[in-house]
């Protein structure tokens, strides 16, 4: 059995303790008289309060109602250039989060509901002109993909995705390695050009397969 449960630190009998109780008018530090608060503990407290004040002042973006970025005032000033992301990687991310919802992560779509992209002649067309239009303003009515008939509505992504994103997605789909796609990648400028050219298309509704097949695969240079 170990020794007495726990040795109570010796309380100062004479000296300071008696003095304190003797003369209440004299201002006494709380707790100091009986048992000296260990200095390390006091430093522990002060360290925290100091850090707290510093952190609050530094990361509160001077308490603005509309300042959400805690590093607003403090940034090193130079705008760190966003490192360019490889379109294939960006396209893969966006495909998985946006397009995969209907065309499925494996790109095979749902029979009778959502057309497949793997080995689809639309996705492997020489020029991206039709795909860009589909991505921008959607597709409606009957369409045959790999000989299978579909009749569903593809929703427009004109204001959901910007040019760089659409270009990245189309580049990814057209050059998907596992699917063995070897079509040409798409540049954001091409998407921008077609977006400008078809800016009133949104009001007319989505493309139909017939309209698209009538258009050339490569967008004629203006």
């Amino acid at each position: 059995m170990n020794s007495d449960p726990h040795a109570k630190p010796p309380t100062p009998t004479g000296g300071v303790a008696d003095l304190a109780t003797a003369d209440p008018r004299e201002h006494i530090e709380p707790g100091e008289a009986q048992r000296p608060m260990t200095m390390s503990y006091v430093l522990f407290l002060c360290a925290f309060f100091a850090w707290g004040g510093y952190y609050t002042q530094r990361y509160s973006a001077d308490y603005g109602a509309l300042s959400y970025d805690e590093n607003a005032g403090i940034g090193s000033g130079k705008v760190v250039a966003a490192k360019p992301v490889d379109p294939y990687v960006l396209g893969k991310r966006l495909f998985e989060n946006v397009c995969a919802k209907c065309h499925q992560p494996d790109g095979l779509g749902l029979p009778g509901q959502y057309p497949p992209l793997v080995g689809s002649e639309w996705a492997q067309a020489a020029g991206p002109a039709r795909m860009i239009r589909i991505a921008l303003d959607g597709l409606q009515g009957p369409v045959t993909v790999k000989g299978l008939a579909f009749n569903n509505n593809m929703t427009p992504h004109r204001d959901a995705l910007n040019d760089q994103q659409i270009a990245a997605i189309l580049t990814y789909v057209r050059t998907q390695k596992e699917w063995g796609h070897k079509a040409s990648p798409v540049a954001p400028e091409e998407v921008a050009a077609i977006r400008a050219k078809t800016k009133d298309r949104a009001a007319l509704g989505s493309w139909t397969a017939a309209e698209l097949l009538a258009l050339p695969e490569h967008e004629p240079k203006p």
């Binding site: 726990h6 709380p30 300042s67 989060n97």
Partner: protein
């Protein structure tokens, strides 16, 4: 039989209560006066514990097999989860908390439970209000605000209860016969004062007259976090501060530390509600203030932790002999671990990963279950034999209960924390797809951890069933003993 308690009017006017120090009531007399009320609260809390555990198992099972009970609209996941939360938080935890608070206030004030009628009415209101509220949630009337899902037609009943109990607390405090205010009583007074303010402010500002826009989220999480911080934590710590010294028969290590512990907890815990919204649509200063308050919580946590640990110093071998001590020490240590883990979660760089993931859920259960519920179990194991004067029928059931819940909650916390953190890393890496059946994706990688959680749920269920059997058994013996009038079996433990 409750001691002749002064009438309400006289109770409130201290002037004529006379200054003779009424003789401090005997412990046995105090325990006897608490019997009816406490058995109402503890009995109801055991019922809510089983209901809450059932909801928990349904919720957990639905998490990894969504087709389970999918076509019953009132058991939809989105309704069973808030029902579980309210059944356990307002049902078991709060009722047990009130039972323990009543008993502690009487014991520490050395005064029998006066005006028991007031607290009994509060208990009835509570259970009726909660039953209606949870029924409302399952029927689809949830208010849609986390931690405040009880619909508007049931929450006033709950508020009446808190108000009655707070008033009772003040009266009991006013007429205590013990000059010294033990540390537990500061915490209890704090809890009894804080919670009605929190609940009424949140009800008014969120449900009756909703404030505009994201201020609702600020009020919601000021309330949400403080339910744990200013209601459960103070009562849990009050219980630990009372039961560990009481069971060991050893006074608290350094009482002056508890002064700092209490006031730093009161000040900092209040302020760290917004760490639930790190990165959210709130001005930076609001979130920064809460993060600072969360980190400053290290002071009370370390202080209280040390205080309890050194009180236990040299007595750890007694854990073998005392069930109450096991629950209390398990709860105390869980409190320290939870709080330090919580402080980490509040930091911006950590929150970027763990926010919105299952590790938040693991932390919530570690705080609520591993700390507070275990402490309440320990308190109930200490209080009930003393108030009904009947010993717990089976020590085996108590051991089953302790080991099942202790291991169960560990099986809950550890896998879910790991799983949640991995989920967090997967979620902030855009190259990991969110959902892809045949690739490493965020959703598919969390499923095995959710299955482990379901398993731990069943282990905890075993513990709860053992506890419920013990409780029913002791009530049966109490009724039998009450019918056979004979001298009380045991005065108090040798």
């Amino acid at each position: 039989m409750s001691a002749t308690s002064p009438s309400i009017l006289r109770a409130l006017s201290p002037a004529d209560s006379g200054d003779e120090v009424q003789q401090r009531a005997l412990l046995a007399e105090i325990d006897a006066s608490c019997r009816g009320t406490l058995m109402l609260f503890f009995g109801a809390s055991v019922v809510w514990l089983l209901i809450g555990t059932a909801f928990a198992l349904i919720t957990s099972w639905k998490m990894h097999s969504p087709n389970f009970l999918a076509d019953i609209s009132w058991l939809a996941f989105g309704r069973v989860r808030p029902a579980h939360l309210n059944a356990v938080v307002l049902g078991f935890a709060s009722e047990a908390a009130i039972g323990v608070t009543l008993w502690l206030m009487c014991r520490l004030g050395r005064v029998p439970l006066m005006h028991a009628w007031m607290v009994n009415i509060a208990g009835v209101f509570w259970n009726v209000g909660l039953a209606i509220g949870i029924g409302g949630i399952l029927a689809g009337d949830s208010t849609g605000i986390e931690w405040l899902e009880i619909p508007g037609y049931a929450s006033p009943l709950l508020f009446v209860t808190y108000a009655l109990i707070a008033i009772w607390g003040i009266i009991a405090f006013r007429f205590r016969r013990e000059k010294h205010l033990y540390v537990s009583q500061w915490y209890l007074l704090g809890a009894l004062f804080w919670f009605p303010w929190l609940y009424s402010a949140a009800q008014i500002l969120l449900i009756m007259e909703p404030v505009r826009g994201v201020v609702q989220a600020a009020v919601n999480w000021w309330f949400g976090h403080n339910v744990l911080g200013l209601w459960f934590t103070p009562i849990g710590i009050a219980a630990i501060y009372y039961f560990i010294p009481k069971v060991l028969g050893v006074p608290v290590y350094k009482y002056s530390l508890s002064v700092i512990g209490f006031w730093s907890l009161a000040l900092f815990y209040n302020w760290n509600g917004m760490h639930h919204l790190v990165g959210g649509p709130l001005p930076a200063w609001l979130i920064t203030v809460s993060i600072v308050a969360s980190v400053m919580m290290t002071i009370p946590v370390i202080t209280v932790g040390l205080n309890h640990h050194f009180t236990m110093w040299g007595h750890f071998h007694k854990l073998k002999d005392s069930p109450v001590l096991r629950f209390m020490v398990f709860g105390g240590m869980s409190y320290t671990v939870t709080s330090l883990h919580g402080i980490l979660l509040a930091l911006r760089s950590v929150s970027e990963v763990t926010h919105f993931t299952h590790s938040t859920i693991a932390h919530a259960h570690q705080g609520l279950y591993a700390f507070f519920v275990m402490v309440m179990f320990g308190a109930i194991y200490y209080i009930v034999p003393r108030i009904v004067q009947v010993e717990w029928p089976s020590a085996r059931l108590i051991r089953i209960h302790f080991w099942a819940t202790a291991i169960g909650i560990m099986l809950y916390i550890v896998p879910l924390t790991i799983g949640g953190t991995l989920q967090g890393f997967a979620m902030i890496n855009p190259d990991v797809p969110f959902l892809d059946l045949n690739k490493y994706s965020v959703v598919t990688m969390t499923v095995p951890y959710l299955k482990m959680r379901s398993f731990s749920g069943f282990v905890i269920l075993v513990g709860h069933l053992a506890f419920a059997t013990s409780f029913v058994w002791i009530v049966a013996r109490w009724i039998k003993a009450a019918r056979r009038p004979q001298p009380a079996q045991i005065a108090s433990h040798a």
